[in-house]
């Protein structure tokens, strides 16, 4: 990996991310495309299948340490979780938990990029996401930390947005988005006054990496650079979070306090809600760092909650690089 050339994480495919993020030559894939483990449900719908069902799984080394990795491919059905896709994730997590000492990973990395449940196989996808969640928590209970990396242009939405928050550590770039429902779905339900999905700045203030970092929903904010993601993942390797009654009680207090920071009635809020929330979280000047607002691009819905970008993906974010990540990173969270 060259130290000089910055490689956009957002523009990489799942396989490119895996190959650049991990130690060179260490990657070993399970159920690779040559085994043609595809969704059986898509052909009946006249939808093309993928020989990896949109997710890459395997083992590798990160800074010399053994890790298991799963990377979702946002280009295939928006990274939506179907039966096979979900089962590959569950299998990887189960294998991590059951691994003999010779194979036991120091961490499981989930390179998440997903609109959530794949609607084309909705029921199976919903159950699969919940199986992923339980399998992930089994891995944590076995003492193996789970790291989630989010920086793809499809974001991390729906059930996968919940799965991400079940992990030990989340790394995001400011181009990444982490949320539950996508803006289009909310706009379609409650109208454009509720959520204007074309207002890119608003979308990023609501779900983008910078907002998630300011609110503590992600642990590390990095530039859109594969090498930066790699450094952040290495740094997070030995920082498992406890998952016990005191830690969940502390989380409960934190979230209960957050709820009180934002008035429920909109008329009680002057100006922008995100800016108000940031200032009440202790970032009086956070709004000065303009959130990235990518240019609108054509989208179509394929995922549960978020439209996947079309082929424009490779170029969509090129003009959006900002220095806000660097400015945010230099600040200590209160």
């Amino acid at each position: 990996m060259s130290q000089n050339i910055r490689l956009s994480y957002a523009e990489c495919s799942a396989r490119e991310r895996v190959s650049h993020l991990l130690d060179p030559g260490s990657w070993h894939e399970w159920l690779p495309p040559s085994e043609r483990v595809s969704s059986p449900h898509l052909a009946q719908l006249g939808v093309p299948a993928a020989f990896d069902d949109g997710v890459v799984i395997g083992r590798a080394r990160l800074a010399g340490r053994p890790v298991f990795i799963a990377a979702q491919e946002g280009e295939f059905m928006g990274g939506g979780v179907g039966e096979v896709h979900g089962a590959k994730l569950v299998g990887l997590l189960k294998r991590a938990r059951l691994a003999p000492p010779t194979e036991r990973p120091d961490a499981v990395l989930l390179l998440a990029e997903s609109g959530g449940v794949r609607l084309h196989e909705a029921n199976a996808g919903l159950i699969a996401v919940s199986e992923v969640m339980r399998a992930l928590l089994d891995v944590r209970a076995a003492g193996i930390p789970v790291l989630v990396l989010i920086g793809g242009s499809n974001g991390c939405f729906g059930g996968m947005g919940i799965v991400a928050r079940c992990a030990d550590h989340i790394v995001m770039s400011d181009l990444g988005r982490l949320a539950m429902s996508g803006p289009e779905v909310i706009e379609a339900t409650y109208g454009v006054d509720e959520y204007d999905s074309r207002d890119r700045a608003l979308v990023w203030r609501t779900s983008g990496g910078k907002h998630r970092w300011l609110s503590g929903d992600c642990d590390t904010l990095v530039e859109d650079d594969v090498a930066a993601f790699r450094r952040a993942a290495i740094a997070a390797l030995d920082r498992p979070k406890p998952l016990d009654l005191p830690s969940l009680q502390a989380e409960h207090q934190l979230l209960s306090a957050r709820l009180k920071l934002l008035p429920e009635a909109k008329h009680e809020i002057e100006g922008d809600e995100a800016t108000l929330l940031w200032s009440r979280l202790g970032y009086a000047d956070a709004a000065g760092d303009a959130p990235p607002s990518p240019e609108p691009r054509s989208v179509r819905w394929t995922g549960e909650n978020w439209p996947r970008p079309c082929s424009a993906r490779r170029t969509a974010f090129k003009k959006t690089a900002t220095s806000c990540a660097a400015r945010c990173s230099s600040k200590a969270r209160p």
Binding site: I127, G159, I162, S181, D217, L255
Partner: protein, 206 residues
């Protein structure tokens, strides 16, 4: 709730309530309280929800984090020895279901319950596939169509409660599995044939 001389914690929602940031916290508080004050007490999750709250404010606050928190609380309760049983008694939809019934030891349903990710017309709009095609496929493939029977066939719902509810509850609590058996159930019942097989292939892969 007292049931056959045993106290149960009952946590749930009514009237198709959307699960937003606040409601997820209220439910999580009940689970945390049960763990702290009543170790070992079984927990019954009564599910009737239209899904996650579709509001921007909830997204801004981090509804996914609040829902994950609820799921983590239920999961920890299981690991600390509480039996946690979900029952879909009316309606269950995607986001509101995934961190309640679907993360319990087992989730059952009443026969008249309705479970879905999305209605077929909406699914047709999102996937750009025709309603006729989806309707036709839903007759033969439980993967697509809403319906509690499909979730039973796929293993997501362990069983439907028939007859006397008290007997069904008693049996359900007694037989709730500790480990996730859903992929296996889906295979045995023929509704989800690949999940268990693919998981096993990953475990066996060289």
């Amino acid at each position: 709730m007292q049931f056959k001389g045993q106290t149960l914690s009952v946590v749930g929602s009514t009237h198709h309530a959307p699960i937003g940031f606040r409601l997820a916290l209220i439910q999580a508080a009940a689970i945390l309280n049960t763990m702290a004050e009543h170790p070992g007490r079984p927990i019954l999750l009564l599910i009737d929800t239209q899904g996650q709250q579709l509001r921007r404010r909830d997204e801004l606050l981090g509804i996914n984090r609040a829902m994950a928190h609820l799921g983590l609380c239920i999961d920890l309760a299981r690991r600390r020895g509480h039996r946690v049983l979900g029952l879909v008694y009316d309606q269950a939809l995607s986001g509101g279901f995934i961190t309640s019934g679907l993360i319990a030891d087992a989730c059952d349903a009443l026969p008249e319950a309705e479970i879905r990710v999305m209605r077929i017309p909406a699914m047709a709009r999102v996937t750009k596939l025709s309603e006729d095609l989806l309707n036709e496929l839903s007759l033969s493939n439980p993967v697509f169509a809403p319906g509690v029977e499909n979730y039973v066939a796929m293993g997501g719902i362990r069983k439907l409660w028939q007859g006397e509810l008290a007997i069904a509850l008693s049996e359900a609590l007694a037989h709730a599995p500790v480990h996730d058996q859903r992929a296996q159930l889906g295979q045995e019942r023929g509704g989800r044939l690949l999940a268990a097989q693919v998981i096993q292939r990953v475990l066996d892969a060289a």
